[in-house]
Symmetry: C2
């Protein structure tokens, strides 16, 4: 692909206008929106409005006057179309880990007589840690992990819940929601999906595909800002069977009655806990607004086109120096691509110094995320060219690039 071809693809891109919804520093090709999404142009003003005009002027009255009390559900309603969920099935709450704990504990408690949480070997570590934490609390529950290809066959009558990540954080390999959900349902097992690396990047239809429970991250493709609140999904038909293990006052049927005994709110609100950060939710709302008017089918199509072009351009320029570590077929990937290189860490640092921001995952993966709302084909070309340059001139091989920082 030549620069002219890349420019022509960008010019013809139906999502090109969405790039103006973001602020990105000049000269940076940002391919790490799968880790921290870019800043939406609308976010600063939204925060000023929330802080100076709402909090600063109306103070406590803002809980009603500016709808703060409904923020977790109002903002969830903006997320619902991105996930194929009903608005009554979604909440904004805390972090992915805390949301996962709530749903995992609720799922296990709703399945008496079943003792296994089934997950995938190599699932995102924090998900496994949360499950391990739950098994320490509930000694009759165990966590079992199997390779991706054995998940469906490993579901049995002892499996309380299958806890999986739709898109793998390293390889971007995508699991088949519908197929695994069907296998689980046939055995009376619940499914709990982590959508952190898929929400906002690919088309998801939680209802059509029969998902029971899901959580996901607000600060990756949803552009909610660093440590943005997460989301939590529980299928409507299940909500009556579930009890939150973390019932704070916001989950009460009448939060302002201050009753001594907990009575859960009906529906998804029972999964609220304490008072959520209104500032963090305001930023997430601005992030979700950056999807306005854009169907997820168009986003997924562009994600596939960008990532596919990137694979082709890297392989054409770098040959066997790097190894594709992601599925080659776009429908089997999320919106990031990983290449393995023995000195991947140093290569990524050298890329960052030249303005191409990807990231590294041990032991040897260079990871590049394509955010369809703000990345384009010229980004893809420049990134592939820069990687080829760095590998060709050996400029990655310097102590300052090899030295690991604590955070990668």
């Amino acid at each position: 692909m030549t620069l002219e071809e890349a420019q022509a693809l960008d010019a013809a891109d139906p999502l090109r206008h969405a790039r103006d919804r973001f602020r990105l520093p000049d000269g940076t090709i940002y391919l790490d929106g799968n880790s921290l999404g870019a800043l939406p142009a609308a976010t600063p003003a939204r925060l000023v409005q929330t802080v100076e005009h709402q909090w600063g002027e109306d103070l406590i009255a803002s809980w009603t006057r500016h709808g703060w009390i409904d923020a977790p559900r109002r903002v969830a309603a903006k997320l619902a179309p991105l996930l194929g969920a009903d608005v009554d099935e979604l909440l904004i709450a805390e972090s992915t880990s805390v949301c996962l704990f709530k749903l995992l504990a609720a799922a296990v408690q709703a399945q008496p007589g079943r003792s296994t949480i089934l997950s995938q070997e190599g699932n995102f570590p924090t998900d496994l840690y949360v499950a391990q934490g739950l098994t320490e609390l509930l000694p009759h529950i165990r966590l079992r992990t199997v390779p991706a290809g054995e998940i469906e066959s490993a579901i049995d009558e002892d499996t309380a819940v299958v806890m999986l990540t739709q898109v793998d954080y390293r390889s971007a390999a995508r699991l088949d929601l519908a197929s695994i959900n069907a296998a689980a349902r046939a055995r009376g097992t619940l499914t709990l999906w982590d959508l952190s690396h898929s929400a906002g990047a690919i088309e998801i239809d939680l209802k059509r595909d029969g998902c029971d429970l899901a959580v996901g991250c607000g600060y990756k493709y949803l552009n909610g800002g660093p440590g943005a609140p997460a989301f939590l999904f529980a299928a409507g038909h299940l909500q009556g069977r579930l009890r939150s293990p973390l019932p704070g006052w916001m989950a009460h049927a009448e939060p302002f009655a201050f009753e001594p005994a907990f009575r859960p709110a009906e529906g998804i609100a029972q999964f609220l806990t304490g008072t959520p950060s209104i500032l963090a939710i305001a930023a997430l709302e601005a992030g979700l607004d950056s999807f306005a008017g854009i169907p997820m089918s168009a986003i997924e199509a562009k994600a596939a086109a960008l990532s596919q072009r990137f694979i082709e351009e890297v392989e054409a320029r770098c040959g066997s120096e790097v190894q594709l570590a992601s599925p080659r077929e776009p429908s089997r990937r999320g919106s990031h691509v990983s290449f393995a290189h023995p000195a991947g860490y140093a290569v990524i640092q050298a890329l960052i110094e030249r303005g191409v921001v990807g990231d590294f995952r041990a032991p040897d993966l260079m990871r590049f995320g394509f955010a369809p709302l703000y990345n384009g084909f010229v980004d893809v070309l420049r990134a592939a060219e820069t990687m080829a340059e760095i590998l060709r001139d050996g400029s990655w091989d310097q102590p300052r690039f090899r030295e690991r920082s604590r955070v990668t």
Copy 2:
């Protein structure tokens, strides 16, 4: 007290300069900082810095470049002197409810053979809800509540943990940390304190008073903004005995190693969970900075003076129409004062319409919080005068004031 006397007290107030650290709307006497603290003048710029310059320009690199990764501990270090805690004993994390769950579950698990969580009748409802949620998860654990006066005698060999709120959210009655901690320690029981209505308002010395565990709210007297992150304290000598039930990736000994098995970080960091909201923590940091250079002894002294004057001025003007529902002795109160009135809800609405913002707690309590950093003696006088006016002229007795909103 005359206006001139109140003005003279304000002029002589050694904390008067701190008022300039806040933005408050003209014409409002804000006596609800015990529910939502006022906006610090520094907060908007701090958020702009975090959002536009850190997130917007440095993107993912901000995790190291701007110290985001250390934010929960860095900001906790600013809180430590307000609580008499070591910096290694405190964390900023999620909400009070989630922090309470973590410590309550850890405390119960650290006390094998003991099955009771002891609390106070009428403790803040969300605290009781969280405890109830834990007992549903752990059926061998039960929650027992007793009146305040019976707490110490109710602690026995079956009591795993005593979970109490230092300052009651309705009456402002203050429990004696040192005495209850000593009684608990004598019986091998742990103590878990909710400091939500005391942190930032009165002098607290968690170490001197022998507290084991504590949590508290960031958005009341700490001025962290609506739904600000909470804090969590675990005494250093206990940390090795405790295991968090919610071990997310931030709690791992090497978070960026992405190991499949959880290995807890040493010390207080094991109580981290998922990625915290950096925007919410930045706002909380600005809130804590509003305490810079001001000893908590001066804050408690002013809280006592303001609240005592308020009681005197209200009683002098309103006589027996209102009943003091808080302890009369300042050392036995927090920094808010409650008066009972049969039509308390309507009276509070009428007060708010005249610019005096207090709040209402069922069934009949009118609650007024005095934030020593920004409230003064003229506020006290105006509030008492306005209440007397409203009771005298009967203007509270209108349908629009009687009609309850969902949020009070």
